[in-house]
Amino acid sequence: MAVTDIAAAAQPDALEVSVRSRRLLRAILRNRKATVGALILLLMVFVAAFPGLIANHPPQAPLYRANAGPSSSHLLGTTQLGQDVFSQLVWGTRLTLIVTLVVSAIATLISMIIGVTAAYLGGVTDRTLTVVTDVFLIIPVLPLLILLSAYLSPSVTSLIIVLTVTSWAFQARQLRSQGLSLRNRDFLVAARVRGERPMYIILVEIVPTMTSLLVASFLALAVFEVGFAASLQFLGLGNSSELMWGTMLYNAQQAAALESGNALWALAPGAAVALMGAGFALVNFAFDEIGNPALRPVRRRRRARTAA
């Protein structure tokens, strides 16, 4: 092919990108699991954004009768200090959601940069980065988390750091294989021929085409990050004065809530964590199916399998 042909080769154009995102939206709406998941997540975002609209008691103030059961003014009862459990749950949503999203985003970003760089540059760089990724994959995560958390002073920032360090490796392999498959696509050859630097090619040319895979990786991580963060805080390795669902669980466990007749104080934040994880998981199904047409549910109405 002539050089000009290569230069003008299949660069994903604006029309194709917008068609793809519309297809994404349609896919979510059509897939029942994803719809439920998306609704759950939207609810969480709403609660995180406007907690004052839903809970009318201050979350941390020990103003009420301690250890009260659920009632019309305290939907989930009160804690041993006399705080309203429902308000804590509602107000805790924000930080929990933020931590989950931030950790998943940064970890996905890191794993993408490493995975794609390894794929694109190949050779020694590839082998080194792959080894580093594998090492991080094999070293057991929670023991490493505990080791790190036992020494860093507990805070939301250290929680984010620790979770990101132990999570980025999960998706790096997949992103690398996708990068490998793209390596010799025409538009990349064109960019190379144009003389662009490798970092530019990686960040500006390759990454935008992997958007759906990135979103899928982000969601796959988010499913587990909620649980990881809550687990760490439950073990007592977080900052118990920051209001998050995990710290509610920790405080409840320390006060033996289950055994003291105060079970909602422990079960409610746990259920909330499970719900958020489920929400991400449900939306994640849709992405799996979008990405791999073979996985799409078989419908009775024979719809033609549209290629991604």
């Binding site: 080894v131 994959l137 929670l142 790190l148 073990l235 489920a278």
Partner: protein
């Protein structure tokens, strides 16, 4: 064989990385074992600080590189020293190992079997009722943090119904022996932790098995099997599943780390005195020798499993040997 050699190289490298992490982290963070003891034992005379420092060998100024090489040497020869309670690290680990091995070993195998089985069947009958329900629910269950499943089980079965004990590995005050009543006691105590772990980890493998199966089913030899007129079940298992499982094996071994982590949380929740709980208390007690021994043990366990899985894949799948 070159494939195996490369994997062995990775094994050694990972081991070295884990050992180094284990060496560096406690040393760069503030505090030492003497301060750990004073911090946790509320009624020990603080004047004992000096005596404690002598006991734990704190403040013995040693060049950090010399210390590092001594440390590596000790790890290789299996000398892990004594814990802050003055017990040899190896004997602490070996005394707690059976409990964790029992719990984790059984549940991992069970979860793998369940997850794989469900994955195979769902893939074979795609779009059917099983496929619509089981894989998504199992996956969602695996997204739920394992301690919440544990909390729920404790609440329903231990607190409200009082059918099963609340925690620990056997009734406090009972004498361990090989009698049916003691074994029954142990099983009763292990039931809730085991169910929590199994429920959560089964979902991890369902999807990868199912997706592998689906792609394998498209292969020609599977269609050939069906065309030949072989019974459906035979094709499903002997032709499709056997080939679909293989790529899973290494992934399964790599996820062992996640399972071990879940076991730590479960042991904490149920006060189950296994390695996981030991690791947790070792890190809060700043028990350097014990932490190093345990972290090494964990990493080694995962590495060995990964290596075994790689060997198995190489043996069972001729395609890898052709590299």
């Amino acid at each position: 064989m070159r494939y195996l050699r490369r994997r062995l190289g990775l094994f050694v490298l990972t081991l070295w990385a884990a050992l180094t992490v284990n060496f560096v982290i406690p040393r760069v963070m503030p505090g030492n074992e003497a301060q750990a003891v004073l911090g946790t034992m509320r009624n020990v005379n603080p004047a004992a600080l000096h005596a404690l420092e002598l006991q734990f060998g704190v403040n013995v100024h040693q060049n950090i590189f010399v210390a590092y090489f001594h440390y590596l040497g000790n790890c290789v020869t299996g000398q892990f020293g004594v814990t802050v309670q003055n017990v040899p690290v190896m004997s602490e680990i070996t005394s707690k190992l059976p409990w964790t091995l029992g719990l984790v070993g059984v549940t991992t195998v069970l979860a793998f079997v369940i997850g794989t089985f469900v994955g195979v069947i769902s893939a074979w009958r795609r779009g059917g009722r099983i496929d619509a329900v089981l894989p998504p629910s199992l996956f969602i269950l695996s997204a739920i943090p394992v301690f919440f499943i544990g909390l729920l089980l404790i609440y329903v079965f231990a607190v409200k119904l009082n059918w099963l004990p609340l925690g620990s590995n056997y009734t406090i005050g009972a004498t361990p022996e090989f009698s049916p009543s003691f074994i029954w006691d142990v099983l009763k105590h292990a039931l809730l932790p085991a169910i929590s772990l199994t429920v959560v980890t089964a979902g991890l493998w369902v999807y990868s098995m199912r997706n592998n199966m689906i792609t394998t089913i498209e292969e020609d030899y599977v269609k050939m099997g069906t065309a030949k007129g072989l019974p459906s079940r035979r094709v499903m298992f002997d032709y499709a599943a056997r080939n679909a499982i293989l790529p899973n094996l290494t992934g399964f071994a790599m996820q062992l780390g996640y399972v071990l982590g879940g076991a730590i949380v479960i042991e904490y929740l149920f006060s189950y005195p296994g390695l996981g709980y030991l690791f947790f208390t070792a890190s809060t007690d700043h028990d350097l020798p014990l932490m190093q021994g345990l972290f090494l043990f964990y990493t080694l366990a995962v590495l060995v499993c990964v290596l075994l899985a790689d060997v198995a894949t190489a043996l069972l799948d001729p395609r890898t040997r052709e590299a």
